[in-house]
């Protein structure tokens, strides 16, 4: 890893933070930032920097970074673009550890001159720079939070294993808010904006060796260097799964080419090719980012044979339909499993896959059928439909599913389709690390992607 990338440690685990543009005025960016650090109980020192103030939120305020008696590990800059190159110079003089520039007004508006100045300074001094024109980072472990959207408007997710790299601040913050809403845990959030110094490949390199990160979501519009991205994805995806969403898929005014290939193969086809070569899972929308990532806490399946359990016939049939249409296969139960399952289902029922426990099935039906299928060597993964509307099903089913997840025998996904009552239960499931889906289609697609990645893991000798 390049030294400047390794130095990102100062950005994610700083002992002290200077906030340039700190403000006393409520809802100003420099004020939200101060609150982020003070309210979230950031453990290190916080130094407000602003020549207009002597004190901000009870803290002594400095005119410039070099006035701070100690060296700041991380400097967050939220002042107008024209002022930034001088501030970055001042930071370099003081040998700060890392910089986040939130301000816009650089390459994206044609001010490459300003961008080049800060790039030169940072690269010369090996100072990692996040941004400019971004939301910066959020790390729930160290409480570093440069997202200038107030916490009451944008909830911060809890600590967990999913890292999220986003070129766009808007998409990034919306995903964060949803992650918090569904109780998904985040390891690191990085909104990197113009990627003037560090780009998506650098962040992948960094996250590949980050202990807190188990899986990575990548939202990308346009890479700085495609070849480098391909290599970084290949390397990182071997260690932990990457789920990527590419925006800007159209040919968008691309001049008509003179060959067939030129007319068909737009830039999105190149991205798609790169994702496939790196075995990166591609999501087709924001909801798929969640659908695909939340299954990765599950044990790696040995194959693609799926057993379905349901307490509603129709949902089982729909699920089986999607499975037949995918790279997954419906498992055949072993004689032992069939014998066990025959004891569970009503006398008028048939043991078949999907296994229909029927609507008057109680929670024990799930316990026993899950046990039987988890022990069947001919089944690699389970899809468990839990329709919460039926009278005998109550919160105990969540305990059963959580126990099955904790046993880490086989991966499974759950499907619960319904309104507010069901959604409330799904939220509880998700917060307990049970991959829960609101439709058979979404669940099967997520399981299919997971099985495909698992196959790759086995090929490279993992899992």
């Amino acid at each position: 890893m390049r030294k400047i990338v390794k130095n990102l440690d100062s950005v994610f685990q700083p002992k002290s933070v200077a906030i340039v543009g700190a403000s006393t005025t409520s809802n100003k960016i420099g004020n939200v930032l101060m609150k982020n650090f003070l309210d979230a109980r950031f453990k290190g020192e916080v130094y407000p920097v602003n020549p207009k103030h002597d004190e901000v939120m009870g803290k002594r305020c400095y005119a410039k970074v070099s006035d701070i008696p100690k060296r700041a590990d991380l400097v967050i800059i939220a002042t107008p673009a024209e002022t930034v190159p001088d501030i970055v110079d001042d930071c370099a003089k003081k040998k700060v550890g890392g910089i986040i520039i939130l301000s816009g007004g650089f390459e994206e508006v044609g001010r490459n001159d300003l961008a080049l100045k800060i790039k030169a300074t940072c690269e010369k001094n090996d100072i990692p720079l996040v941004g400019p024109n971004c939301l910066g980072i959020y790390d729930p472990y160290t409480k570093v939070d440069s997202i200038f959207l107030p916490r009451y408007k944008l909830e911060r997710p809890k600590a967990g294993g999913i890292a999220f790299i986003s070129q766009s601040g808007a998409v990034g913050s919306a995903v964060m808010d949803l992650a918090a809403y569904y109780g998904l845990g985040i390891s690191k959030f990085i909104s990197y904006g113009n990627s003037t110094v560090l780009n998506e490949s650098d962040y992948l390199d960094y996250l590949a060796q980050d202990d807190e990160t188990d899986a990575i979501i990548l939202y990308i519009e346009g890479a700085k260097d495609g070849r480098k991205l391909l290599e970084a994805m290949k390397k990182t995806n071997k260690v932990k799964p990457i789920i990527a969403l590419k925006a800007g898929k159209g040919l968008g005014g691309q001049a008509a080419a003179r060959s067939h290939t030129g007319n068909i193969a737009g830039s999105y086809m190149a991205y798609k090719a790169a994702f496939k070569q790196a075995k990166v899972t591609e999501a087709e929308g924001i909801s798929e980012l969640f659908d695909f990532v939340k299954i990765y806490n599950q044990p790696i399946p040995k194959g693609n044979r799926v057993g379905i359990i349901t307490n509603g016939g129709g949902m089982g049939v729909l699920t089986a339909d999607y499975i037949e249409d995918s790279d997954l296969a419906l498992a055949k139960f072993s004689p032992e499993t069939t014998k066990e399952l025959a004891k569970i289902i009503p006398s008028y029922g048939n043991v078949a896959n999907p296994l229909d426990l029927v609507a008057d099935a109680g929670v024990e039906g799930y316990t026993k059928s899950i046990d039987a299928m988890m022990s069947d060597p001919g089944i690699d993964a389970l899809v468990i439909v839990v329709l919460l509307q039926t009278p005998p099903i109550d919160e105990r089913v969540i305990h059963v599913l959580a126990t099955a997840a904790d046993s880490r025998k086989k991966p499974f996904v759950t499907i619960s389709v319904g309104g507010a009552y069901t959604e409330a239960y799904r939220k509880i499931m998700e917060s307990k690390g049970i991959p829960s889906y609101d439709s058979p289609r979404a669940a099967v697609k997520a399981l299919e992607k997971f099985v495909t990645y698992s196959k790759y893991c086995r090929e490279i000798g993992k899992g």
Partner: protein, 207 residues
């Protein structure tokens, strides 16, 4: 660059094209067809005409001189008013699956190679898979498997599977060629494949 220049350069770089010759007159076409051996195909060559078959500028399965002369006149009539470089006389390709191997230099990722269902409907079916160059043998297997037309390669409806190794060699060679010569766009289309091998029937590239 004319079509013949393209063909010559591709041959220089180790691509084996179906035997061809460029005729400037009907008599010359007849002579060349005899030398190449019937059956042959003829194709109009004109920088004004990008898609030859759209104007009826291609005749295939010509079995003898009489058919050749009739076809020649018919094509010339259809191309009337266009600036014409000549008539390509080419040995008829084997019967098989028509594929395209192509490539392009992408602004972000550099050279990429594509494989797809070829022929004149490439842009209609858009049944293609792509990878960034260079590719491995495993990459190419995936490219074949991704095509909707994949069963055709495996020998649908009682046909034998195509010679996949020959096709793979061609794709890997296309990658090397594009990277070495820094080609902007490349079409080998159609590439006709059967169980024995592949014929490159038509090709074009842009530097």
């Amino acid at each position: 660059m004319t079509l013949i220049d393209d063909f010559a350069l591709l041959e220089k770089h180790g691509f084996k094209l179906l035997p061809y010759s460029m005729a400037k007159s009907e008599d010359e076409a007849a002579m060349m067809a005899k030398r190449i051996g019937y059956p042959v195909a003829i194709k109009i060559v004109s920088k004004d005409i990008m898609h030859k078959s759209d104007i009826g500028g291609v005749k295939v399965g010509i079995r003898n001189e009489e058919m050749l002369r009739i076809s020649y006149r018919d094509v010339m009539q259809r191309a009337a008013g266009k600036s014409i470089d000549g008539m390509l006389v080419q040995r008829m390709a084997r019967k098989g699956v028509e594929l395209i191997i192509g490539g392009k230099k992408d602004a972000q990722f550099g050279h990429m190679v594509i494989l797809g269902l070829g022929g004149i409907y490439v842009e209609i079916f858009r049944d293609v898979s792509a990878r960034i160059c260079p590719i491995t043998s495993a990459d190419f297997s995936e490219m074949m498997a991704e095509l909707k037309s994949h069963p055709l390669l495996e020998g649908a409806r009682g046909k034998k599977p195509i010679n996949k190794k020959a096709l793979e060699r061609l794709a890997l060679h296309a990658c090397r060629f594009m990277m070495k010569e820094d080609i902007k766009e490349l079409d080998l289309n159609p590439v006709v494949c059967d169980e024995k091998g592949c014929d490159i029937v038509d090709a074009r590239f842009i530097r």
